[in-house]
C-alpha cells in the first residue's frame, strides 16, 4: 500500500442479515476532498463512522497515512470529525470544548493555549471563546466543531452533513470558505452529503452511493456526462434527467438542457405546462415516447404544439432491467 492519504480496501459492514456496506474500496490522497453523495440510508454516514472507528467493519482494511487502522481504537486514529449535530459539549465554553481533547492527550498547558489561540484566530472565534454552545448561532457552532476537528492536526478530516442545519443562504456563503479551510492541506477530507450542489461545490471528486455500494466515483463532470448507470444519471442534475419509454429493453436518458425545438423532423410534442426558473424556464412536454422536460431561454414563448430534437452525442442509453449504461 502506498503511504499517505486514506485507502479503503473492500470494506463491508453487516448488521445481522442486513448489509450496510458492500465491498467499498476507495482512495483519497492527502489534500484531496472526496464527497460521499447519496440518498439517506445509502451507507455514506456508515462509511464515515467506519473510518472514524465508531462502527466496526465486518471485513476489509482501512489504511491511513500508511498505517493499518482497521482495528485501532477511535481515540488513537488521529481523526478530526464534524458531526451533523456538531456534538459540542454543552456544559463547556468554546475554549473548554477545544481544550478537553488536548488535556486528555496530556498536551502541556502552554502548548494547548498556543494551539487554541491559533485555531480561534483562523476561524474567527476569538470573541466567542467564553460562550457556551447554546449562546452561539448555527454557523458559529459549525465553526467551533470545525475548530475542534482541526485542532489536533488530524491525519484525516471527516464531515457528516455539516451544512444540513444551516439555512440555504448561509450554506452558499460557507461553501468556498469551507473549501479554503479544509482542502489542499496535508490531510485527506471525506465529506458526506445528500446535496449534489454541495458535493460539486466542495469536493474534488464525488462517490455516488446507494444501498451500501459505490455506484460511481469520479469528478462531478464525469458523473454528470458519463454516468455508469441510471441511478447516477437520475441522482445528479436538477431538473432531473428525462427517461423516455423503454424500447426493446433499452431506455434513453436525455438531460433537459440538451433538448431543443426544431422546425422540421424530430419528435412531435405537446406543451402541458411551464415552470418559471428566473433565468430559464422548464417546459413540460407530452410526446409519444413519454413525458419530457426541456430547459429553454426564459423569454421564449413556446407554441402549444412543437417539434423537439437533440444531438445524438448527448444520448445516454441504459439497459431497462439492470439500469446499466450501454452507450
Amino acid at each position: 500500500m502506498s503511504s499517505g492519504g486514506l485507502q479503503l480496501e473492500n470494506i463491508s459492514r453487516r448488521l445481522g442479515a442486513r448489509s450496510l456496506l458492500h465491498e467499498i474500496s476507495l482512495e483519497v490522497p492527502a489534500g484531496e476532498c472526496l464527497a460521499l453523495l447519496g440518498p439517506s440510508g445509502c451507507g455514506k454516514t456508515t462509511t464515515l463512522r467506519v473510518v472514524a472507528g465508531l462502527d466496526p467493519v465486518s471485513s476489509g482494511r482501512i489504511w491511513l497515512q500508511g498505517r493499518d487502522i482497521t482495528r485501532l481504537d477511535p481515540g488513537r486514529r488521529q481523526v478530526g470529525m464534524v458531526f451533523q449535530s456538531y456534538a459540542l459539549y454543552p456544559h463547556l465554553s468554546v475554549e473548554g470544548n477545544l481544550e478537553l481533547g488536548l488535556e486528555i492527550r496530556r498536551v502541556t498547558a502552554a502548548e494547548r493555549h498556543r494551539r487554541i489561540s491559533t485555531i480561534l484566530e483562523l476561524l474567527q472565534l476569538v470573541e466567542l471563546r467564553h460562550r457556551r454552545p447554546a449562546q452561539l448561532s448555527g454557523g458559529q457552532r459549525q465553526r467551533v466543531a470545525l475548530a475542534r476537528a482541526l485542532l489536533r492536526q488530524p491525519d484525516i478530516v471527516l464531515l457528516d452533513e455539516p451544512m444540513s442545519n444551516l439555512d440555504a443562504q448561509l450554506r452558499d456563503n460557507l461553501r468556498p470558505e469551507l473549501r479554503r479551510l479544509l482542502c489542499g492541506g496535508r490531510h485527506p477530507v471525506l465529506y458526506v452529503t445528500h446535496d449534489q450542489q454541495e458535493a460539486m461545490g466542495i469536493a474534488d471528486r464525488i462517490a455516488v452511493m446507494s444501498n451500501g455500494f459505490i455506484q460511481q466515483l469520479g469528478t462531478a463532470r464525469d458523473l454528470y456526462d458519463q454516468p455508469v448507470n441510471r441511478f447516477v444519471a437520475e441522482f445528479l442534475g436538477r431538473p432531473a434527467i428525462n427517461l423516455l419509454l423503454p424500447q426493446q429493453g433499452h431506455q434513453l436518458g436525455l438531460r433537459p438542457e440538451h433538448i431543443r425545438s426544431v422546425n422540421t423532423g424530430g419528435l412531435e410534442a405537446k406543451l402541458t405546462g411551464r415552470e418559471w426558473l428566473g433565468n430559464q424556464q422548464l417546459l413540460n412536454l407530452e410526446t409519444k415516447r413519454g413525458q419530457l422536460k426541456m430547459l429553454t431561454s426564459a423569454d421564449w414563448t413556446p407554441p402549444t404544439e412543437l417539434r423537439v430534437s437533440w444531438d445524438q452525442g448527448r444520448e445516454l442509453w441504459f439497459e431497462e432491467q439492470s439500469g446499466e449504461r450501454v452507450k
Partner: protein, 270 residues
C-alpha cells in the same frame, strides 16, 4: 385589572400551606392555649426545649437520619449511574425487558418485604447497626433511581459521546467529564427522591433499630407521640415535625440551584 388569577393562586397557597402553618403555630403554643386560648397569650418555646433536651437529644436523631440518608443516596447513585449508563448500550429488546422489570420492582409495595428483611438483618447481625439501614434503603430505591437516570441518559445525544471517543476519552473519562455534568439535573432530582425516602422510612427502621440513641427521625417522633396514653404531647410532636422537615427544606432549596434546566440546549442542532 383581572383579579381572578391572584385569588386562585392565593387560595391554592392557603390550601397547601395552611396545615403547615397550623403545625408551626402548634409547636409554639402551650397545651392550654391549644384548646380555646386567645391568640395573644400562650406562646412558648417550651416544646422545642422539651424535644431538644430530651435524652437523647433530638439532634441525635437528626444526625442519625442524615447519616443514613447520605449513605443511602451515595450508595444508590454509585450503583444506579453505571447501571443506567450500561442500559443505554443494550440491544432494544433486552433493554425493554429490563426496564419493565425495573418498573415492576419500583412499584412493588415494599412493606411486604419487611419481615423477610428483618429475618435477614437478624441472620447477618445488622440489627441496631445504624448504617446497615442504608442497604435495604438503597436496594428499595435502586429501581426508581435507575429508571430516572436512564431516562436522563437516553436524552443525551449519542454524537456527543462519539465526539468524546474520537478525542480519546476513555469510558471513565466520558462518564466523568461528559455524561455526569450533563446529567446534573436528573442526578440531583434523583438524589432528592432517594434521600427523601430514607428520611421518611418507618417500618424497616422500626424493626431493625431498637436502641434509642440509634433511632431515626420517624421512629423517634413516634416515640414522642406515643410516650403517654393519657396526654398526647401535641406541642412537642409538632416541634419535632418542624425540626425534622427543616433539613429537607434546606436540601431542596440547595439542589434547586443545581437543577438548571436547558443545560443540554444547543448541544445538538441549530
Amino acid at each position: 385589572m383581572n383579579l381572578r388569577r391572584p385569588i386562585i393562586v392565593a387560595g391554592l397557597l392557603l390550601w397547601s400551606l395552611l396545615p403547615l402553618i397550623w403545625q408551626l403555630q402548634t409547636s409554639f403554643r402551650t397545651p392550654d392555649a391549644l384548646v380555646g386560648g386567645s391568640l395573644t397569650s400562650g406562646w412558648t418555646l417550651e416544646n422545642y426545649r422539651t424535644v431538644l433536651q430530651g435524652s437523647p437529644s433530638f439532634w441525635r436523631y437528626m444526625v442519625n437520619s442524615a447519616l443514613v440518608g447520605t449513605a443511602t443516596t451515595g450508595l444508590t447513585l454509585s450503583l444506579a449511574v453505571p447501571a443506567a449508563y450500561g442500559l443505554r448500550q443494550q440491544a432494544a429488546t433486552l433493554k425493554r425487558g429490563l426496564l419493565l422489570l425495573l418498573v415492576a420492582a419500583a412499584v412493588f409495595p415494599y412493606v411486604l418485604l419487611f419481615l423477610a428483611l428483618l429475618e435477614l438483618a437478624r441472620q447477618l447481625g445488622w440489627g441496631n447497626q445504624l448504617l446497615a439501614l442504608a442497604i435495604p434503603y438503597s436496594g428499595l430505591s435502586l429501581p426508581l433511581a435507575v429508571l430516572l437516570l436512564q431516562a436522563g441518559i437516553a436524552d443525551l445525544p449519542n454524537e456527543i459521546e462519539d465526539a468524546a471517543r474520537l478525542e480519546g476519552l476513555n469510558l471513565w473519562q466520558r462518564l466523568h467529564r461528559i455524561v455526569l455534568p450533563l446529567l446534573a439535573p436528573t442526578l440531583s432530582s434523583t438524589a432528592i427522591l432517594v434521600f427523601l425516602f430514607s428520611w421518611n422510612e418507618y417500618p424497616i427502621a422500626l424493626t431493625w433499630i431498637s436502641r434509642s440513641e440509634l433511632l431515626t427521625l420517624p421512629t423517634a417522633m413516634a416515640r414522642i407521640a406515643g410516650s403517654s396514653i393519657y396526654a398526647v404531647p401535641y406541642g412537642a410532636f409538632a416541634a419535632a415535625t418542624v425540626l425534622g422537615s427543616l433539613p429537607l427544606l434546606l436540601l431542596v432549596l440547595l439542589f434547586q440551584r443545581a437543577i438548571v434546566s436547558g443545560l443540554t440546549q444547543g448541544a445538538v442542532k441549530g
